[in-house]
Symmetry: C2
Subunit: 324 residues, 2 copies
């Protein structure tokens, strides 16, 4: 009998954000079979939000002609500090909730185990299971966005330390006593390697170099500078733009070299808005990294662009409870 | 029968250094039952060295009235780059050997599996199995000596990455474009937080501040400065000494905060000559670390002084092949 019937396992992943809650049913390869989303309206408090989340999940299961009993757990990815064991969201800036018992609340509506995970860790797991780092045991995914996020996968599982707080790789110092970071420390990698950092660096350079094309590109208004401006200026031959980009790539490289010297993951995945520059960024980044890592032998960590896009949160969340 | 007879497991660990080879028989608690050592005489080439190592191991086994068949493997800790799968020492400065097939060579004399491991990783495993981090799943041990060494234990096992090259935590940058490091990079933690770094910082400060007690303590000869000098000067009320110590502890803290933000190990163990300053160093270090780590909640990583001393290499090496 076993040879005749194919058992397909499905998983439920929730990407719980401050403005939107996205739910998906995912197969074991990490393909999304079905998904839907609702606004969060976080001001209502977590009880109402989780109730709507539960109803959305039940609706999605039913629409697929599946049953709650077809699933082993529900995985939720969300920003902030988490107590995984008890399924509690300790604190998240994006929601304003303190010690919200998300898992217990959701179980009022659906009788399945509920696992919480940090959203950056979900994205890293998604890249490991179905994205750029597929087939590897150990991988790290960094996200260059408003901040520098990151997730570490060891042995195919998210590494989050004994207190669920590991993986804050954006908050490692690359310039001791440097610029203030939102975390209270000075000189964190995030301050220099995030898109926010790049924008600040571009503004300073444009201000100091009035002749730079950057000023023309933003019509003289430095507030129009975004994470693409310096790259655009460089493409048109602007020296200041080129200097900004060079220095920015060096900053990204510093943190990546650190991570490789510590972990030597099989693959290091680079994601986030800035990574859209593609090979122009990645190629130059790799050159600096490989010239400066400690272990000069083979094999080396591969540095690859993120593949998973917007669904990474759902897919990673869906995979967090898988065994093996 | 099983209830009547106690089966005690014994392990063999080798600490293979450039000047001395130390071999020990270790029980499963990490206690050394018996040990002995011989000079390395590395110039002879690895074949002769490994032969002597093998004879020493056999002698030790016999003296304990044990048999080769009482053991499951031999563990060897050594400095340098290793190919674990094939038991090859790729390169080690301290020996001058290139691609030395240590495991195969030793098996000519003893019919047991042979496992190689980096010596800093062995020390970290020893602290985890029997030292300051006993009873924890995840711990990191740093060694503040000539350089800054380190080993990472995840799930009770050494984490060494897919290419056996992980754990080079001394080679993470804390001052981008800072002082030259031996690894070729600029601004590595090791440059600032090693005993070597402290000595250089003390020398510079003494030179710049001729009135400092440091100059008196070393009888005007800056070459007499060692890793204790600034601490000694501070103890006697010297302002320059105190400034050097404060800044040095800050440098150590920077790297430790980074490691905690990345890993949140249950315990972070501080070893090496400098750690002999005890609570004077550790207490001040902890204050800076806990004020600056990202996750302000509980539980926090414990920071403890190393316990294992000189036998850490033997004990860690003996434990590297253990399952579970």
């Amino acid at each position: 009998l076993k040879g005749d019937v194919e058992f397909i396992m499905y998983y439920i992943g929730v990407d719980m954000g401050g403005t939107k809650i996205a739910v998906g049913i995912v197969n074991e390869k990490g393909d999304i079979i079905s998904k839907d989303s609702i606004p969060t309206y976080r001001e209502r408090g977590y009880e109402e939000v989780v109730k709507d989340m539960g109803l959305l999940i039940l609706r999605l299961i039913k629409a697929q002609k599946l049953f709650v009993s077809d699933f082993e757990y529900i995985g939720i990815g969300l920003p902030g500090s988490i107590n995984k064991k008890d399924g509690i969201l300790i604190y998240a800036n994006n929601f304003g909730y303190h010690n919200a018992p998300i898992a217990d609340e959701l179980r009022k509506y659906i009788d399945l185990p509920v696992f919480l995970e940090n959203d950056a860790n979900c994205a890293a797991l998604a890249e490991n299971v179905a994205g750029a780092a597929i087939g590897t045991q150990n991988s790290i995914t960094i996200t260059l966005g408003t901040g520098v996020g990151g997730g570490i996968v060891v042995g195919g599982k998210v590494y989050s330390g004994f207190n669920d707080a590991a993986g804050e790789i954006g908050h490692t110092v690359i310039l001791s006593d440097g610029k203030e970071c939102t975390c209270g420390r000075k000189g964190c990698w995030e301050v220099y390697a995030s898109a926010t950092g790049l924008i600040a660096q571009t503004k300073r350079a444009a201000f100091k170099n009035p002749e730079s094309l950057i000023n023309t590109l933003v019509k003289g208004n430095l507030d129009n500078i975004d994470a693409k401006t310096a790259f655009d200026a460089e493409r048109e031959g602007d020296k200041t733009g080129s200097q900004v980009v060079e220095q920015y790539i060096k900053y990204i490289a510093e943190g990546i070299i650190d991570l490789i010297n510590i972990f030597t993951p099989e693959v290091l995945v680079v994601g986030g808005g800035v990574s859209k520059e593609g090979e122009n960024l990645l190629g130059r980044l790799k050159k600096i990294v490989y010239d400066n890592i400690y272990f000069k032998g083979e094999p080396k960590t591969k540095i690859l662009e993120a593949k998973m896009g917007n669904d990474a949160g759902i897919i990673g969340a869906a995979m967090i409870g898988r065994e093996g």
